[in-house]
């Protein structure tokens, strides 16, 4: 039997604050192969903290515990900070919502991609530059030479996000966690960025975790969807079976959206059952 790419068993993340403890993630379990997994839920439900714990990016005041947390069979709970950093930059990586905050504002696009490449691979500047150009080309940036010389603030939202994806994928990772990668983009640009991700995942046989608050978007993109509420997974669905969702929270999330193909006034609202958070 082959090991799954990612194994998460009973993961919890808690934060200690002066006025109490926040249990951000509570007993989350899932495995991931070379597939597209979606995590959806409302803000604060623990989606980002699940992804960050996997990468080892939990803030200092947070405590991570789990029965098992593994990447390609490597026990992440026992790995040293150095080993995790090495994994993070190369074999597993994360794309965030707003590239303007994730890119270095005082380095050109080219410098950043070249640096990311050379940090994980012995390569000359010239080779790294060639790889960077090819990568920009594969995220469908026209005139990559010109874009290499730009600073992050000179990029439009859609271009910034593609540069970010290029930078994250230049090390050929096996796992990509994309945290709301298109939420800051125009709807018409969104599809284009997602299609690039989709093609790269298929071509390279990567595992992808797509984190989003947009249930419809995740369901149309992923193979499987985890629905989170108050730090827990309340439901797991095959993406094509979204409309068979059983949990009242999932059904409520689907129902409360205004839709072009159904004009309902007033919109149904979520009636939160305190039992969902238990």
């Amino acid at each position: 039997m082959t090991v799954p790419l990612v194994e998460v068993e009973d993961l919890s993340v808690a934060f200690d604050l002066p006025d109490g403890r926040i249990e951000a993630v509570r007993g989350v379990s899932f495995t991931l192969g070379r597939e597209r997994l979606g995590i959806v839920g409302e803000s604060g439900s623990g989606k980002s903290q699940t992804g960050r714990a996997l990468l080892g990016l939990t803030a200092r005041n947070g405590t991570v515990s789990a029965k098992r947390l593994a990447f390609d069979g490597i026990d992440l709970l026992r790995a040293s900070e150095r080993e995790r950093r090495a994994l993070r930059g190369s074999r597993m990586t994360m794309v965030m919502q707003d590239p303007r905050y994730s890119l270095n504002p005082v380095m050109t696009v080219g410098q950043q991609i070249v640096e990311a490449y050379r940090a994980h691979r012995r390569a000359s500047r010239g080779e790294a530059r060639k790889a960077a150009l090819a990568m920009l080309h594969s995220v469908r940036i026209d005139q990559p030479e010109r874009v290499m010389a730009l600073y992050p603030h000179e990029l439009s939202g859609g271009m910034g996000q593609r540069v970010m994806i290029a930078m994250m994928l230049i090390t050929d990772p096996e796992l990509l966690i994309a945290d709301e990668p298109t939420s800051a983009l125009d709807v018409t640009v969104r599809g284009e960025v997602l299609r690039i991700l989709d093609a790269l995942v298929a071509e390279r046989g990567m595992g992808l975790i797509l984190i989003s608050h947009d249930l419809e978007l995740v369901a149309s993109f992923c193979d499987r969807v985890l629905v989170m509420y108050a730090g827990r997974i309340v439901e797991e669905l095959n993406a094509d079976a979204l409309h068979d969702a059983q949990h009242p929270y999932t059904r409520g999330l689907i129902g409360c959206l205004p839709r072009l193909d159904r004009d309902s006034h007033p919109l149904p609202v979520l009636d939160r059952d305190p039992a969902w958070a238990l």
Binding site: E42, V187, T188, C256, P258, L260, V269
Partner: protein, 259 residues
């Protein structure tokens, strides 16, 4: 048609000079009747917010006219203007003073306009947006995103305006909270006969709240259509069509060229 509440003709707005010159709005015209709601959609940077800001006198108008109930608006906008027109922004956290209580936030416009009986008006305004009196002495950071947006709406309505300019009022909110705010906006509109000019990137939100909409691109209106036509899918501009396709979720085959 009855006299429009808002009539904009050939509006132009430019920022900066020389190399930094930006023509943000280049000849926009639109009409909004009393009690009607009009959507304003288009990609980011197309000039939607600038149109709203030009109406309120916050953006430099380089040409064209803005008339409110038949009268050209004056510069600076007078007190009477703000009794007729109010605005709600996308990010309720940024638009509410962080060190003012809800009570102070609602009292300010009432004091400026010397409205009698402020106390009763504040309590009533909170009730209208579904917040109990216990919220009166809270600070914005003690409220959820949805509650903050309710306070911003209460502040906009406390002077009983006829026209409310809404700039992405639900974009920062979770879907369930968005549903509550959309329902609230609909109820308030019916109750007080309000007109809305709504900016949103979400076509379903626009179709839910507005009868008509205007599609902007690069500072110009490229299409004027109805919610009905959006629902039927009978829009004519390729750009509007691309937005419509994109709003249906992810598809592995590319959308038709958006031009």
């Amino acid at each position: 048609m009855a006299e429009p509440l808002l009539a904009i003709d050939d509006l132009r707005v430019t920022f900066g000079v020389g190399r930094l010159h930006v023509a943000a709005v280049e000849g926009v015209s639109l009409r909004l009747g009393p009690g009607e709601s009009l959507g304003l959609v288009g990609e980011s940077g197309s000039g939607k917010s600038t149109v709203l800001r030009a109406i309120t006198g916050l953006a430099p108008v380089a040409g064209g006219t803005i008339r409110l109930a038949g009268e050209p608006v004056r510069l600076p906008r007078g007190m009477d203007f703000y009794r007729t027109v109010q605005m709600v922004f996308q990010d309720p956290f940024a638009s509410l003073h962080p060190r003012h209580t809800v009570d102070q936030i609602l009292a300010e416009p009432l004091a400026i306009h010397r409205v009698a009986d402020a106390e009763a008006r504040i309590v009533a305004a909170l009730a209208e947006v579904g917040l109990g009196p216990s919220y009166r002495f809270r600070y914005p950071h003690q409220l959820s995103g949805g509650q903050r947006q309710r306070v911003a709406i209460a502040r906009a309505l406390v002077l009983r305006p006829r026209l409310v300019l809404l700039d992405e009022p639900t974009s920062a909110l979770d879907a369930s909270v968005q549903a509550e705010i959309l329902n609230l906006l609909e109820t308030l509109r019916r109750e007080f006969g309000l007109s809305y000019l709504l900016v949103s990137h979400d076509l379903a939100v626009v179709a839910h709240l507005c009868e008509r909409l205007v599609v902007m691109r690069r500072g110009r209106v490229v299409e004027e259509t109805t919610a009905e036509a959006l629902r039927r899918g009978t829009v004519s501009e390729p750009y509007t069509r691309a937005m419509l396709t994109a709003s249906k979720g992810f598809s592995r085959t590319p959308e038709p060229e958006s031009g």
